[in-house]
């Protein structure tokens, strides 16, 4: 009865997405979050706000300021630094959950602000900004007429995607290198000391507040770069793509890989996107077979709400992971910044 399922599509989807552009974006965002939460113990529930800051940096540079694509990268980084200071200065002296509440609120506020109709001339309001990344794609070394697909084994990518992936995974590599070097330096050891026991670190004369702020700045900028790749990949920035659910996907990515491990964001992103895309492809294939009517009748599943089921499973997975294996695949429980401060 289920013979009609094309397993080739499911396998191809799984592997293509595991290395695809979305995995790049989430790996980068999770590297930033790893510096915040994994190494410093900061509860940042607003990573998507940093992504929005980065993405709108590029978008607004082209659309509003008209200074071109490349200076937009600097503008995005500037936005991220400002956001980190705005968030950090009032909340980093307080208990961890205050930062959590403030960051989630701030990320929503950014979304409201950029979609405000009064900002139509600057951010494009609810419609967003489109077609600003041509200078980036002009450099595409894979370019072939008509943006044709490349195929090998299970993988299938458009030429533009391959170019985003090449640059993206390179940046991911650089960020991993940066994190690795930072965390084995004396500076990184102080961060971990603050995570383990802030009072002890303070007693040793370390200015915990300043270290936490620096970590927030660095992780925020990396989150902003993730947002830039999101914008470049989609060729558009829209306020509603930067909603809090994205933040929690980034958390899931980080927790899957294992908190406070260098490689965990990359592995987490690959597993997360591979699984999510594979599952969705499987459900869509099931809906194409003869049991479609039964699915619709008994659990009300149709092509319209497949993606909602995906989100339900994702929420459930986040709960189960956090409950039973909070250290993820590679993490160790000792490294978890989960004590109650």
């Amino acid at each position: 009865m289920i013979g009609a399922i094309d397993w080739g599509i499911i396998v191809s989807q799984t592997f293509s997405q595991a290395f695809g552009t979305q995995a790049v974006v989430f790996a980068l965002a999770a590297i930033g979050l790893n510096i915040h939460f994994g190494y410093t113990g900061l509860l940042n529930f607003g990573q998507v706000g940093f992504m929005a800051a980065g993405a709108y940096g590029i978008g607004m540079a082209v659309f509003w300021l008209d200074i071109g694509f490349w200076p937009g990268i600097l503008l995005g980084i500037g936005y991220c630094l400002i956001l980190a200071l705005l968030l950090g200065i009032p909340t980093l002296r307080l208990r961890a959950d205050y930062l959590g509440i403030t960051t989630i609120a701030a990320s929503e506020t950014i979304r409201l602000l950029v979609r405000w109709r009064g900002n139509r001339g600057r951010t494009g309001a609810a419609e967003g900004i489109n077609d600003f990344a041509d200078p980036f794609y002009a450099l595409n070394i894979f370019n072939r007429p008509g943006n044709r697909s490349y195929k090998f084994l299970f993988f299938e990518y458009r030429a533009d995607d391959l170019w985003v992936m090449l640059t993206g995974w390179t940046v991911v590599g650089l960020c991993l290198l940066l994190t690795w070097q930072l965390m084995r330096s004396p500076w990184g050891r102080v961060l971990k000391a603050i995570r383990e026991d802030e009072d002890a670190a303070r007693a040793l004369g370390k200015n915990a507040y300043s270290y936490k702020l620096q970590a927030l700045l660095i992780g925020g900028v990396i989150g902003g770069i993730a947002g830039m790749f999101q914008a470049i990949d989609k060729q558009s920035v829209q306020p509603d793509t930067f909603n809090p659910v994205i933040t929690f996907m980034i958390w899931t990515v980080l927790i899957i890989g294992g908190v406070a491990r260098i490689w965990s964001p990359v592995i987490g992103a690959m597993i997360f996107w591979g699984l999510i895309s594979g599952l969705e492809a499987l459900m869509r294939e099931l809906l194409g077979t003869s049991i479609e009517d039964e699915l619709e009748r008994f659990i009300n599943l149709s092509v319209f709400n497949v993606s909602q089921v995906k989100f339900m499973l994702f929420g459930l997975a986040l709960m189960l992971l956090m409950r039973f294996r909070p250290q993820g695949i590679f993490g160790s429980r000792e490294e978890l910044a989960l004590d109650d401060r």
Binding site: L112, Q308, L318, M319, L320
Partner: protein, 458 residues
């Protein structure tokens, strides 16, 4: 057996128990909703509809009457006094709805002129909504900001702020009390608000037994939907029940097996996502309306205009909040709650049954949140209402002082008044931002909140 139970009480709660808890909850949610939505799918008449509204210069959404909308080959509809329109379509699929801009009243335009036609995907048996964004004045960018400060407008906005503050207080107190007694910041609290709204809608539409699909054909209060007042009470009861179940099967077990608070917080985030998408899966993405009082006209009280339903709901919430305050202040259980919130270990060692107190707090907090949700639902019922209000709920409890019941009340009223009065000077679209700015200022200068005690919280 005896041995087993002792081991369990010491806190080894296994994967299976936990899964059973999650599955039980999911089944409860699914069975309440799933059967109902199946029922509505069977009826076989699908339509596209909506409400045309526009913001006037006071920032209120007013209906637009007499506008013609059409679907080629299917029919057309003219909006009524509530701005409502609906066009039945013959089959599920994709349709293009066109608004005739020539029929729009003077001074009202489409927000973007190229959006006079919308592509809408309709599922079998569902009423799908299509939203046309209208603005008053030219372009609407400056039209609704400012608008002058008059005494009448201040009075009206104060009344609306009070209304929102009262509803918000009901939604917030539970979050604050749960934080006070367990230390947990519950990100899924907003979903309890939505839960109240949705269950009220379902009791209102399908009745006592009709919620369980196959009993729907029963007559009277069982099958055909109960009056909104009774439905709201039932929604409150199901809110309390859900709160109890969540505590009993998820959070109590995690407290026992020593799951850290931050891990629990992330788990509440997962729970919030799970619940929200269960809601939209079963309820659909469009807004719906209660059967009773939906098209009520506002009445004037001096300079203020409010609908009678809102006046009644405001009075009820004021009474409910007073009762909660009285219970907290004067009853044994209330004192126990405040004692646990104050110092859990001390409370436990003086003989207070802390688990029971926490259980009651979850139940009462969730019931209040559900009732608050029903009141908010008087405007419209939507699957992600709670989540869109989460920011305001957090602002309220932080402002008043995390963990204090009275603080949440004061904080909610301040937030409600502040965001509504802020529209005197800023654009309505930005009013929720004021809540965040107030919150950040409070955290900078008085981090313990208005009513919190100044102890070290860093």
């Amino acid at each position: 057996m005896v041995h087993c139970r002792i081991v369990k009480q010491q806190g080894r709660v296994g994967l299976r128990d936990w899964l059973r808890g999650v599955v039980a909850l999911t089944v409860v949610l699914m069975s309440l909703f799933g059967l109902v939505s199946e029922l509505s799918a069977d009826s076989g008449d699908q339509s596209i509809g909506g409400r045309l509204q526009v913001e006037n210069e006071d920032g209120e959404r007013v209906p637009v009457e007499g506008v013609t909308l059409s679907i080629e080959g299917e029919g057309e509809s003219i909006t009524d006094a509530d701005g409502a329109w609906s066009i039945p379509v013959s089959e599920a699929g994709s349709f293009e709805v066109t608004l005739d801009p020539a029929t729009l009243p003077e001074g009202v335009t489409l927000r973007s002129a190229d959006r006079a036609s919308l592509e809408v995907l309709v599922e079998a048996g569902r009423a799908k909504s299509a939203l046309f964004a209208l603005t008053s004045g030219d372009g609407g960018v400056e039209a609704s900001s400012g608008g002058g400060i008059s005494g009448r407008r201040v009075a009206q906005l104060t009344a609306e702020g009070l209304k929102q503050g009262l509803y918000l207080a009901m939604a917030s107190i539970g979050l604050s009390l749960i934080f006070g007694t367990t230390g947990l910041v519950n990100f899924a609290h907003a979903e309890l608000v939505t839960w109240g709204q949705l269950t009220t809608f379902f009791f209102n539409t399908y009745g006592l037994a009709g919620v369980i699909g196959f009993l729907a054909p029963l007559p009277g209060p069982f099958g055909a939907g109960v009056h909104l007042v009774l439905a709201a009470l039932l929604g409150m009861v199901s809110g309390g029940a859900l709160g109890y179940l969540l505590d009993r099967f998820l959070f109590r077990r995690m407290r026992r097996s020593g799951v850290s608070l931050i891990a629990q917080m992330v788990i509440t985030i997962g729970l919030s996502i799970l619940m929200r998408y269960l809601f939209v899966y079963n309820f659909g993405a469009g807004p719906r309306f209660f059967k009773d009082y939906s098209g009520q006209q506002a009445i004037s009280l001096g300079p203020i205009e409010l609908t009678p339903k809102d006046l009644a709901a405001m009075a009820i919430s004021a009474v409910a909040l007073l009762v909660v305050g009285g219970l907290l202040q004067f009853t044994r259980l209330g004192k126990a709650m405040r004692a646990v919130a104050d110092n859990r270990d001390l409370a436990e060692s003086s003989g207070i049954d802390v688990q029971r107190v926490i259980s009651v707090v979850w139940m009462a907090g969730a019931a209040l949140a559900a009732l608050g949700g029903s009141f908010f639902g008087l405007d419209q019922v939507k699957w992600d209402f709670g989540f869109r209000t989460l920011l305001l709920i957090f602002a309220s409890v932080t402002l008043g002082g995390l963990g204090t019941a009275y603080g949440a009340l004061v904080g909610a009223l301040v937030v409600g008044l502040a965001i509504n009065l802020s529209t005197l000077v800023i654009d309505v679209e930005l009013k929720n931002m004021v809540a965040l700015i107030v919150m950040v200022l409070i955290l900078m200068f008085r981090p313990q909140g208005i009513l919190g005690r100044s102890e070290r919280i860093g």
